[in-house]
């Protein structure tokens, strides 16, 4: 049971966006700018960072839906491997360096040090890519807390997430997605 009276038919963040549409607007707009963009990082890489941070925060709903969107672009195996041990996953060194920054952000802003940043720059990461990585990781430290702090419900059915992920990737994105 959620901590506040929401539409219990809607899972995760969707019931909260239905509860308070006024905050849903900038939250969805932020997700759209951060995740639905191929400049610098591509959509799959952005979703992978979101899924990775959500898995570190152990947020079932967010890691399932963003894991499913990342899998839409990069394949299921990559997502599973990144969540388990990203350093051994079949991704670029640049992406590994950015995930390592994202992991520091998840612990707290001050955990990011010159070491991680220069490693990422040496692997070819640009300022905007480092910026977007930090903000995606920080934003999921918000989304995860919002979803879990109000005790929302996360369905177990992987097909539900795959269905929504395909819809997000092919039709709605985040700015035009409806909670229903």
């Amino acid at each position: 049971m959620a901590h506040i009276k929401i539409n219990e038919d809607l899972p995760g963040i969707r019931c909260l966006m239905d509860f308070r549409p006024e905050t849903a607007v900038p939250l969805n707009a932020l997700a759209e700018v951060l995740l639905r963009n191929d400049e610098g990082l591509n959509k799959g890489e952005r979703e992978l960072i979101a899924a990775y941070v959500s898995s570190l925060n152990d947020c079932a709903f967010c890691q399932s839906i963003h894991g499913a969107v990342a899998a839409y672009y990069l394949g299921e195996d990559t997502v599973v491997n990144v969540k388990q041990k990203f350093k051994e996953a079949d991704i670029s060194n640049r992406m590994k360096a950015l995930l390592s920054i994202a992991g520091c952000v998840q612990l707290g802003g001050k955990f990011v040090t010159e070491k991680e940043i220069s490693f990422a720059k040496n692997e070819g990461a640009s300022d905007i890519e480092i910026h977007d990585t930090v903000l995606i990781a920080a934003a999921f430290c918000m989304f995860n807390r919002y979803v879990d702090g109000l005790g929302t419900f996360a369905p177990d059915d992987p097909e539900m997430y795959e269905f929504r992920a395909k819809k997000i990737a092919e039709e709605t994105g985040y700015a035009n997605s409806s909670p229903q």
Binding site: L16, G109, D148, G149
Partner: protein, 182 residues
């Protein structure tokens, strides 16, 4: 020195909003809706929650600037604000706000720690669904802002006078994304 090439002499979140205006715009809108627009919590109470969470996350820029905004909204009662940060159970604030700060503290640590009894306790002292929702989302949002500001090592001014000016601006005009000076 910031980790990326930000405009010099611009502090904290403002330097990031200038670096990437399309995310900056949405972040300022979110702050405005959460901290200034309609809520059963007063603007001052919401700034206190933001300050409290930022202080737990040890983000000096966000703590100082939102403490200054709270100071502006609470007629410079800095003693009360300091006590909220160090020992909120003994601060001169309502029991309801104490319960909400306890929920905010759990969201800051790990949101799954927020339990039924925390929520029941807040309700017993008059909190409704919107109070609880807004508290959790403000606390969660500052877990983002704090990480964003510190994760990129943005400039944190030391001069308290500067924070006083920021607080007055935030208290009076709310959250308006900075526009480039050039």
């Amino acid at each position: 020195m910031a980790y990326i090439n930000l405009e010099k002499d611009v502090p904290g979140i403002r330097s990031l909003a200038l670096f990437r205006p399309d995310t900056g715009k949405e972040l300022y809108k979110l702050a405005q809706v959460l901290l200034r627009d309609d809520s059963p919590l007063s603007q001052g109470e919401r700034e206190l929650i933001a300050t409290f969470v930022s202080s737990k996350n040890e983000c000096t820029f966000c703590t100082q600037s939102h403490a200054a905004a709270a100071g502006y909204l609470f007629h410079n009662d800095t003693q009360m604000i300091d006590l909220v940060l160090t020992d909120y159970q003994n601060a001169p604030i309502s029991e309801k706000l104490k319960c909400l700060l306890s929920i905010a503290g759990k969201v800051q640590q790990d949101a799954r720690l927020v339990g039924d009894e925390d929520v029941a306790n807040a309700r017993k002292h008059g909190a409704n669904d919107r109070d609880i929702h807004d508290t959790v989302l403000i606390a969660a949002t500052f877990c983002m802002f704090n990480r964003y500001v510190d994760g990129l090592a943005t400039m944190t001014p030391a001069d308290p006078v500067l924070y006083g000016q920021m607080g007055a601006r935030m208290g009076e005009f709310g959250y308006i994304a900075p526009s480039p000076t050039i």
